[in-house]
């Protein structure tokens, strides 16, 4: 398709690949910071304590308490959630129930507060009306759907 429209496909590929390179280069420092943070939390036993505290709440929607921190953190920061996801992969393995569910949850939700801050700042809006309620509805629906689908499929 690219060849037929006389596009310099290779040159464009290189251009795009440079972009990808830049993205990874930019997230490296963030990822180091956040993986260190999560690593410290995990090693100290704080993550397990948090899961224990939250167990009664998450039980209601069938979500394992081990995954609640992931859902909460994802609302604030995508890279911090990535840190937690990798921690779950390390602890339980990517093909475990937790690993799969965490992958599906992260692929079906977005960062709420960051996105709202950036977009509304660009528009000079201070009153966001029902945006937050709608965003939370979508996130909750995605999370519940992830749990149900994972239980059914895997």
């Amino acid at each position: 398709m690219g060849l037929s429209s006389k596009t310099p496909v290779y040159d464009e590929f290189i251009e795009g690949a440079k972009d990808g390179f830049r993205v990874v280069k930019d997230i490296l420092p963030t990822l180091i910071g956040l993986m260190v943070g999560v690593g410290i939390l995990r090693a100290s036993g704080a993550l397990d304590m948090l899961s224990g505290l939250l167990a009664p709440i998450t039980g209601k929607i069938g979500l394992a308490p081990e995954l609640l921190p992931l859902v909460l953190v994802k609302m604030f920061s995508s890279s911090a959630a990535t840190g937690l996801l990798l921690d779950i992969f390390k602890e339980y393995g990517p093909d475990s129930y937790f690993g799969r569910l965490a992958s599906i949850i992260l692929s079906s939700t977005e960062t709420i507060f960051y996105t709202m801050a950036v977009y509304f700042m660009a528009a000079g809006v201070t009153k966001t009306r029902y945006t937050l309620a709608g965003a939370l509805t979508a996130t909750l629906a995605g999370t519940i759907a992830s749990v149900i689908i994972t239980n059914l499929v895997f």
């Binding site: 464009e12 990808g20 993986m35 036993g45 604030f76 992958s103 599906i104 992830s146 499929v153």
Partner: protein, 195 residues
Amino acid sequence: MLNYLWGLMIVIGIIVGIFNGTMANVGNAAINSSKEAVTLCVSMLGVMAMWTGMMQVAKKCGITSSLTKALRPVIRRLFPDIPEEHVVNEYIASNIIANILGLGWAATPMGLMAMRELRKLNGNSHIASCDMCTLLIVNISSLQLIPVNIIAYRSQYGSANPAEILAAGILATCISTLAGVIFAVTARKLGRRSS
């Protein structure tokens, strides 16, 4: 925001570590995690660069612009207050397409351009218009069909089939987007009735 979150992570980790007597583990975890982050990024470079390169080719060949055209009717439904030939239609369409293809870095600039135009349409008000709310909710509901980065992480951590979550992820994404769209459309109708 992240400053507090990260600061709390470290402080809580250290305090709990002292109480649990796990300080040695905490120190090791900090060093190992930083090494791991670098290893991960180096091995992710290939997949990411390959993907964004392919996407760039698709863009230049006009695949994205024809997708944008195909999206027109959907946008008219979702954003009924936007004049039909207004440039903001293009921005919103590009934003949605980039999101679907998982090009976050391309989606955000387009989304911000759209917000700026919507602001003009809204008379520079500091109160969000219905169209702004809808755009935000749709963006946050996650549109990305192929979570390239998650698949890359899974393969990095030795998954036997990194892409096996694809179908389930797409389904969950559709459900979250559907919930967001239903909410946005209903809220718009209710708002109109009350005003």
